[in-house]
Amino acid sequence: MTSVNACKQCAPLGACVAFKGIEGALPMLHGSQGCATYIRRYLISHFREPVDVASSSLGEEATIFGGGRNFSVGIDNIISQYRPKVIAIASTCLSETIGEDVQRLIGEYRAAHRGEVGLPEMLFASTPSYQGTHCEGFHEAVCAAVKALANGRGGKAAGRHINLFCSFVSPEDIRHLKEILADWGVSAVVFPDYSDTLDGGSWGAYRRIPEGGTPLEAIRSCACASASVELGYILNAGGRSGRVRRNVAVQSAGEYLQGAFGVACRRTGLPVGVGETDKLLRLLAQLSGKPVPEKYRRQRSRLLDLYADGHKYVSMKKAVIYGEEDLAVALVAFAVEVGIKPVLCATGGESGKLQETLRETLGETYPEEMAVGQGMTFEQMEATLQAAGVRPDLLIGNSKGYYIARRLDVPIVRVGFPIHDRIGAQRCRLLGYEGTTILFEQAVNALLDDRQRKSPVGYKYM
């Protein structure tokens, strides 16, 4: 019930990541400054990029009299220093607990500054962390941005493009998704696109707000797309399972657009592994009316060839898979496909949907002996393994599983968030046939390396 070594982070963190995917945006957390500092620190150590997040720095006084003043001073200062196109605001536990009405504060600020030129867009996502995880925060922010900007006022060039809501994936994976769409000739809005803002190059001159992000016009046009594709089956469903949720009717961006503008919403899993990638590509073929480009047929066939080569090294190896719910589903699908035996699939998420989603996704390949843990901590994962008397050969998940791996003396293949004990998290590739290729090679090589290291004789040939 309480938590020892959690496997989730808090909602505003996810919101900040999503906000970084809006062009010209500066995120602000309405709450005490500590949250913003911790969250920046955490994101920076993963992405190794500047991650500016402002705070309204609420103090004791604000907890009694409300944070309205801090809010507007904060916005003033952000505008004067950063001149952002968008100020994207998320709440924290503090502002939620004292019941701040941020939409109202935004309205008041706008009213007070009516007619001023260069006023940025302002949008708000409600992200109390005592409900759901960073994943809920992420998707909540995606939906909030779409709601605020794609209001149908951008005219109706209907039917020409699709929306791709790409979930909490690495900048490199976003780039790859964009590459797929471009190769296909499918015109699409990819959101949130933090592939440049959270993985930029070296700069000659400092850019207060880094280049990149999904342009505002593109987000506005989400309302008149021909369809939305959402990557992930669960998304922010966890935000719906709370008991006392008051202020927000949780939905995903795709669901919102479907309800408000009739944009058809199609969901498919994160494309990891052949099966799940096939699903995405088939969907794109359907939506675009164009066949799968030759390039991807070849990638697919190379991947299958690689599977054949590497199969014997991973077959029947026992793996623990953990992380965000949709990621866990994708990784289990991949593992089963290559012959790895997932013994435990765990997540800190609490949507209550993990098990059924796994069953639906895997169908008859669902591994009955796999334990599924929702709302789990690392401590519980370890206890679960111990109780079952299972010793895994491999962990697949984020850096936080390190202690378990260290105690069991088994390798981790690092994917997901956070990865702060290795460099290159921004470029961690997972998606598509190519991402899967890299993942598979990493898994095989991690196992080989482990065997080689522990071998009493030492061998250098496979």
Partner: protein
């Protein structure tokens, strides 16, 4: 030890430029903000340090590097102790983000020696707890932690929502102490993040808690009776405490407790049997030093064993305090022995480092202490400041009486400490103290960062993100010292950043061997050519972006 030739050629120009910088940067803020910010940016004058505004709330919307009260209490002061189970009472984020992010090291003495540092305990509050109260869940967390580990002590740390919904962590602590029984020590901290201006409030709250709940609970005098000292404000980042422990041991100095690097409950409980307290990070721990002096009669002195010369100075101060020839001889022998390697390493590094510029924006003491190391390298610190220092950390303790007490400081519980009826014991007679003082020893004194900076250098409190960018753009220092939050911005501009919160997986930097490590790391950084490759060869010289690069 700085050669005149290493110094900056034209000090006047630089001073004028720094003055200009201040005016320029402040002009960019809205009027009211500008007025306030200007008070936090001053030019140093070691003979008469100017008044600086410090420890006041960050202005909303200004991106600060400061953390929260909770971070200072749980993360900084109590975090490094290995055998206390630290439970964060709150939603998951706060606890998660403070989970081992400071890289404090600890060295259990045996397999049965408890070490909870790798764990992150949180009550993971849910919305029902926010609505109906979280005390029951906290009790449950304590029961579970106890069942799992049977710790000797459990500490509870409050995050923002806790204070707002009115959970009483102290009541829960008392209740659970009774329920579990068996002499377990459970105590709570009201360190909600919104309470203070920065981490600093959390340090104070932690200090109070240490004194009320741990210090003085164990009177047994262990180990040698000679040269018994504590080191306060040393958190064992990157193994600093290990290096200092090595040096003390070599000198025959009996280090009872570090607060709180590599510490244990027993060391805290027993610390009052020492005869001298040495304060390293004045900001985070001076309260404990003061309280221990009042209650037990232990004098305190300021030390800064960062930099080889400063380390030697600390050792000589210890020898002077105890006043025994045997110790003096041994200390001198150790210094002589250690300095041989130090001198060689320094001379080698100086070939690359001498004359270079450094900037230091970190912590509540490091921005001061590391200037010693840069001096040893022949480098000048042109701009420095703290994230969460107070005026006394800049201007010296003499200004304490004139510091205004504002609502934020009043927020922190002041505990009144009085002389312990049975255990107060003056370590030196009045005459002895006088004689030591006449000999140059200073008790209860800290002169602050500005006393060390050359005239005309910039001192900036709570440097904002925006000001940092401007500073780097304008001066391209050869190395910028700060933390991970600043790191990638500075590096994007082609300037190497040395992390001084966690040393970029390097260290230790304290003591003699630490100094050698630091020389090497800085030599490597200022010598690296990678920074000069920001501009591709095909980019023309007058390309706009190139103006900022060497």
């Amino acid at each position: 030890m700085i050669d005149e030739k290493d110094k900056l050629k034209d000090a006047d120009t630089l001073t004028a430029e720094l003055q200009e910088f201040r005016d320029e940067v402040v002009a960019k803020y809205p009027k009211k903000v500008a007025k306030k910010r200007a008070r936090g940016i001053v030019l140093s004058d070691p003979s008469t340090p100017p008044e600086i505004q410090a420890n006041v709330r960050t202005i909303p919307g200004i991106i600060t590097q400061r953390g929260c009260t909770y971070a200072g209490c749980k993360g900084v002061v109590l975090g490094p102790t290995r055998d206390i189970v630290n439970i964060t009472h709150g939603p998951i984020g706060c606890g998660f983000y403070s989970w081992l992010t400071r890289r404090n090291q600890t060295r259990p003495t045996s397999d049965s020696d408890a070490n909870f540092i790798p764990y992150c305990f949180s009550t993971d509050m849910q919305d029902s707890n926010i609505v109906f109260g979280g005390e029951e869940k906290l009790k449950q967390a304590i029961r579970e932690a106890y069942a799992l580990f049977h710790p000797k002590a459990i500490a509870i740390f409050s995050t923002c929502p806790v204070g707002l919904i009115g959970d009483d962590v102290h009541r829960v602590a008392r209740h659970m102490m009774e329920e579990i029984g068996g002499g377990i020590n459970i105590f709570g901290f009201s360190c909600e993040g919104y309470r203070g201006v920065s981490q600093s409030a959390g340090h104070h709250i932690a200090n109070n808690g240490l004194f009320k709940n741990l210090i003085g609970r164990d009177d047994e005098v262990r180990g040698s009776l000679k040269y018994r000292v504590n080191l306060l404000g040393e958190y064992n980042i990157g193994g600093d405490a290990f290096e200092l422990e090595r040096i003390f041991e070599k000198c025959g100095v009996n280090l009872l407790a570090s607060f709180s690097g590599n510490s244990t409950i027993q060391k805290f409980e027993n610390a009052h049997t020492a005869d001298l307290n040495m304060v390293m990070c004045h900001r985070s721990i001076n309260y404990v030093a003061e309280m221990m002096e009042t209650a037990f009669g232990i004098p305190w002195i300021k030390v800064q064993p960062i930099g080889a010369r400063s380390t030697a100075k600390m050792l000589r101060k210890i020898a002077q305090y105890f006043g025994e020839q045997e110790l003096t001889d041994r200390v001198e022998a150790v210094i002589a022995e250690e300095m041989a390697a130090v001198d060689a390493a320094r001379e080698k590094a100086r070939r690359r480092t001498a004359g270079k510029l450094a900037m230091l924006f970190v912590g509540g003491s490091r921005a001061h202490h590391y200037q010693d190391l840069f001096e040893e390298l022949g480098m000048t610190t042109v701009a420095a400041g703290y994230e969460f220092g107070h005026r006394d950390d800049y201007e010296g303790r003499r200004v304490i009486p004139s510091i205004q007490i504002d609502a934020d400081s009043r927020n922190i519980e002041e505990i009144t400490v009085s002389r312990d009826a049975t255990r107060y014991r003056p370590r030196k007679t009045e005459e002895e103290l006088k004689a030591l003082e006449a000999d140059g020893m200073e008790f209860n004194e800290y002169h602050g960062l500005m006393s060390q900076m050359e005239k005309g250098m910039l001192v900036i409190d709570d440097l904002s993100h925006y000001e940092m960018e401007k500073l780097v753009e304008k001066y391209h220092p050869d190395v910028f010292c700060a933390g991970i939050k600043e790191k990638f911005c500075v590096q994007k501009m082609g300037i190497p950043l040395k992390q001084l919160h966690n040393y970029d997986v390097g260290g230790p930097y304290a003591g003699f061997r630490g100094a050698i490590n630091f020389y090497k790391d800085i030599e490597m950084m200022v010598g690296a050519t990678i920074w000069k490759e920001v501009k591709a060869p095909w980019e023309s010289e007058d390309f706009v972006e190139a103006t900022y690069v060497y």
